[in-house]
Symmetry: C2
Subunit: 206 residues, 2 copies
Amino acid sequence: MKLNKKQVHILSVAEKLFAENGFDGTSVRTIAKEADVNVAMISYYFGSKEKLLETFLLYRIADFRNELVKVINQEKSFLERLDNLIELIIHRIHSKRRMYKIIHFEFSNETRGFDFKAYTKEKLESFKTIKAFVEKGQEAGVFIKNVNVELLMPTVQGSYFNFYYNKRFYKTLIPLENDVAVDIYVHQTLTKHIQQTIKSLLTNEI
Amino acid sequence: MKLNKKQVHILSVAEKLFAENGFDGTSVRTIAKEADVNVAMISYYFGSKEKLLETFLLYRIADFRNELVKVINQEKSFLERLDNLIELIIHRIHSKRRMYKIIHFEFSNETRGFDFKAYTKEKLESFKTIKAFVEKGQEAGVFIKNVNVELLMPTVQGSYFNFYYNKRFYKTLIPLENDVAVDIYVHQTLTKHIQQTIKSLLTNEI
DNA sequence: TACAAAATTAAACAAACGTTTAATTTAAAC
DNA sequence: GTTTAAATTAAACGTTTGTTTAATTTTGTA
């Protein structure tokens, strides 16, 4: 897939608007205006509004597995690698939160006809990688065996996204004046909380 | 707020459609058709499409605090009450998942002008109640002190919603043939996983 | 039965929607 | 410099959108 500068620009404008107002809440005219291009350029470049979203998803879902494997193969303890794994996941979903919001919303709608193969494939590969890591930790006696490995990702990612989707509420609870303060909170406090949560779950019998 | 049968019927139809296709993805004509009423009835009863959503939110966000307090005030151990608390929360958000999907999507959009006071208020009261419970458990020496109480709800609710928003993926991973199978998985496996997670976090030092 | 209020309807409204057209400008190749 | 392809434009296309209108039917009350 070769995309020129203008196409990439349109996609990033569309990402912002789709995440803010949804696919249906964003008109091609709004995208065109914000991207400073003629309306017809969207059909010209992408074919249609739906194909624009599909192009965006293919373009944005980069290969995540390599990053995971790199962290997992470090010469460190299981707990250290687990910490790094979670830090990587949170960093990634935070930087791609707009894309995830679009996916969460459209993917959970079973009647929508979008092609989510790339997303499903990436998710499955991440799951397999993490599962293998946890099982090795269990064999090594570091992690307990009584754990639902397929529900680890929902807890890690879900903790982040439930915070993100309720950001307006948490701003009234925690001092989060601007985007920088939110970034710091996510990469420090929230990441630490999730690391603590998963480490507790994986190491302590109840 | 007095709502007649027809109004309640329209609201429940709208809830389903809004959750499936979003606020902007659902037309008043679709709602009217599905609810088997004339299009004009929606303006007649609710004033506008936006006010229909606001009416729905006010109608659907019942007082959750009383249910929480009832469980917390049981004459049981802290860990038993914590289990019951989580079971109640999951049961509630699962039964109201459509409403929450609408809220997550519209609430995180800061430019949207909907009134979310009722939701924020309910969330704040739930937080205070849970915070008080955790602090009593800490004083009693059952729960550890090194915990971010404001991030407990994101982990509990987030684990559920990340599963729900990726249901199509988890159906390829776990045998979840129909809605009943999903209900059973949520109320047994997923609930147990979250109970185990929070109990580990609250009782074990890392 | 008579009357007033509430409920319901089909039709019409202007505005916005995604997409296509045909004409024009820009860029690249020779 | 000429030719060919790509990029860009304003305008128009037919639908669909949320809402309102005015007329009609139903319901409740006296």
